[in-house]
């Protein structure tokens, strides 16, 4: 178990290096483009060249990446090309918003999709077909369109919740909760639809196993067969579903933050990308990758713990 965790850790670090280097070279490779974007289209070639040197973009890419990476380890992600604000400061205020959004959505997705998926698999029949139908709809309609529909109905037509904006939990806990209701709901619909579908197949798969038939034949009540044995054995695929869901939520949050004007990481990335504020974008990419790797690592660890065969190793 320790060995496999160590292997996972090494692998995660390798992925971190590869992906950050790839994005870094793609983004910083276009030095004159960045300088021109910072200076405006009217800049003279001399001014552009001067800016390139000033921003340190004339150095070889590997050197630039090395300097970025060594600083990043110490928590220094550079400064915005425009405002001079340290990237880490900007992220420190943005990341909690996004994390709150996706962690709440993830927990609710886990609860709801387990209930729906298990019910559909065990009950079958019309309950199952209803869930299948709804989940096709839920996965097909993009999260930002669901969000717009929610704004239209619950913020504009019947103003129950605020349409946009974010309230810090320090300022008002109930205001914070109210500002997250619609964004979380918008994320939930798609993620519950797809996760419930996958839970359903995981449970159906376990229900079809030989040992489930044997347990039934031994006279164990169907409820206990499902809740004790089937759920336990569906835990590993279930955890995989949840880590994939987390990934989907991280992407979906970018759009949701845009619709609800939430000052999160995705909004920062989007706004910075449009003005070519490369250090800022690079910072958000780094945080996103770290979140993904941590989630995957924890997911793998949980799967290992849930499986006696893997635990023994």
């Amino acid at each position: 178990m320790w060995l496999s965790s160590l292997k996972n850790l090494v692998r995660s670090l390798a992925v971190l290096l590869v992906v950050t280097f790839a994005t870094f070279s793609l983004m910083f490779g276009n030095a004159p483009g960045i300088a021109k974007a910072v200076l405006g289209l009217a800049a003279t070639p001399e001014a552009v060249q001067g800016k390139v040197v000033e921003l340190g973009l004339d150095r070889p890419l590997l050197v630039q990446y090395w300097s970025w990476a060594t600083h990043a380890i110490q928590g220094d992600l550079g400064r915005s090309f425009y405002t001079g604000e340290p990237v880490s400061d900007a992220l420190a205020s943005r990341v909690p918003v996004t994390l709150a959004l996706i962690v709440i959505a993830l927990l609710l997705t886990a609860v709801l999709s387990v209930i729906l998926g298990v019910t559909a698999a065990v009950r079958g029949g019309s309950v199952d077909r209803a869930l299948q139908f709804v989940s096709v709809l839920g996965t097909a309609v993009p999260a930002f369109i669901v969000a717009i529909a929610l704004v239209l109905v619950l913020a504009i037509r019947w103003p129950v919740f605020p349409a946009t904006g974010y309230v810090s939990p320090d300022a008002s806990l109930s205001g914070w909760a109210a500002s997250l209701v619609l964004p979380v709901t918008a994320l939930l619909i798609g993620s519950v639809a797809s996760a419930a579908q996958q839970f359903r197949s995981a449970v159906l798969d376990t229900l079809g196993r030989d040992y489930v038939r044997t347990l039934r034949a031994r006279g164990i009540d169907e409820r206990y067969v499902v809740f004790r044995h089937v759920l336990r054995n569906s835990a590993a695929p279930g955890l995989t579903v949840l880590s994939l869901t987390m990934l989907g939520l991280l992407g979906g949050a970018v759009f949701i933050e845009q619709v609800f004007a939430l000052p999160g990481m995705g909004q920062l990335a989007n706004a910075s990308a449009q003005i070519n504020d490369v250090p800022m974008v690079m910072g958000t990419v780094l945080v996103t990758i770290v979140i993904v790797l941590v989630v995957n690592f924890l997911g793998d660890l949980a799967i290992t713990i849930a499986n006696p065969k893997a635990r023994a190793r």
Binding site: G33, I34, A140, R213, L215, I220, G266, A306, K309
Partner: protein
Amino acid sequence: MTINPETVGPEAVGSAPAVQPVKRSVIGQLLRNPQGAACLAYLALVVLIAVSAPWLAPAGPNVTDLAATNAPPLTAGHPLGGDSAGRDILDRLIWGSRQTVVAVLVVVVVSVLLGVIAGLVAGFYRGRFELVASFVTDVIMSLPGIVLLIALYALTGPNIPAAMAVFGVLIAPTYYRLVRSIVLGVRNELYVDAARVVGLSDLRIVGRHVLWAVRAPVIIQSSFVMAAAIGIEAGVSFLGLGDPAGASWGIVLQTSFNAIYNNAWAVLWPALVISLTILTLVLLGNALSDVLQSSARSKLLSPRRRHALVAAADRAKKTAPVADSALVGSSDDVVLSVRDLRIGYPTAGGVDEVVHGVDLDVRRGEIHGLVGESGSGKSQIAFSTLGILPREALILGGHVLLDGEDLLADSRLMLAARGRRIGYIPQEPMSNLDPSFTIGAQLVYGLRATRPMSKGEARRRLVELLARVGITEPERVMRLYPHQISGGMAQRVLICGAVASDPDIIVADEPTTALDVTVQAEVLELLRELSRERGLAMILVTHNLGVVADLCDTVSVMKDGRIVERADVEAIFESPRQAYTQQLLSSSRRVELMEI
């Protein structure tokens, strides 16, 4: 983005589903499927509108009419109203469909080219390429694509086709995984070997045989990828990363959303068009997999349909010839009897009956062999006496009587009998123990479910019984997980689990087939001893006449869902009356001779 072709589709990518060869043209088959035909018609309309935009809206997407600023629908000359700059929304959506079609084409071309070629090469040649490609694939798939798309905006600028090409690269792994796993499967098929032997070049083999096998899954997958592409294109435009001068569904949505307080209607149209088109592609994908991989879909029916099928089968019931003999219904010492049992499975055309009116009697302490070839229906009978048939199975008629009470008629009686009075020993020991619980935990739990007693008491009895079934260190084995013990031990554990609750009869489904020959004899001996000690009756399902001769008192011979002969074991071996039984006997003797 929450649209992920992996989760939208009915088949998870990476598993190689059983794909029927594409016989007729895909389009032709699809048009015969109502859902598929409707989806195709809608998509054809979208493409047609995109192509003919210059004629449908000759003024172009950017003509402003100040009078139409934020106009509601059905304003003169603007059927869907105007946006915040006074531009006609319908015209903009018509022109926007061009960008959507282009975006989808770019994504599909890039991702299919990359993913399918890489998948073919990796699956066919394997080696280092496969290692690298699979690593890259894993990395790409573990990242949220939209974040990378935003990051690469620095490179592409407000250029939707370029962004879509990047998205094509990001989604190519879904094709790669699909194609690679199929090619790995096909690679070792005989026809590919044959082609190699004949001396065809690798290129010809891939072109002729392998591409053929991946065709249908790639077509299905493409439908889901297109759906994802439309979502991403609209989303990226909505974020403001598109070309602000152009028109696209996403940009129309963004403009309308920014003016949502002035004209809520304007949001509706682009949202509707985007959602409907994505939904159509998802439904098309489902229809495609119905048409191309119909076998991969489960045929679980609704209760109403099941009742209808059973009723229909009852009306059509052929009066089965009951070859009655002295062994059926002759004794009042019978524990379990099966009467006129008929079992079927739903098919496309109705019901396929696999067991046609079987009668069977087992007396107290008697070991009754149920022999026949695989597929003759013997396991179906065994399962139905315990009420553990697969969910899709239909009991078309008949009775299972335990001491005269019909278990099939009342599910409560069945539940009360199952495990308590009828025990079950399965065929494959390793797959019949729950891998997540220790042996002790599952045995104790099972025993206490049927006989109320304390945990300690259950443990004590089970340790005793484990020792009785031949497990040397029962205390230690109780603490082990199923993967830590051998197949023979696992079968002893399962026998212990079946016997622990003191049933009257045991149904053993090929209890020795999966075991080593040396262990087989020991397990048979154990079953014989247990039957004697406890006065246990037993139904022994087997295809092995040696086992029957060794263990059974009486025997029923099954063929094609019917019992063709039943007799005492000596009688069958000395003078088989039925031609089929003679055939079965002589073929098994031949096998024995060959083994000597």
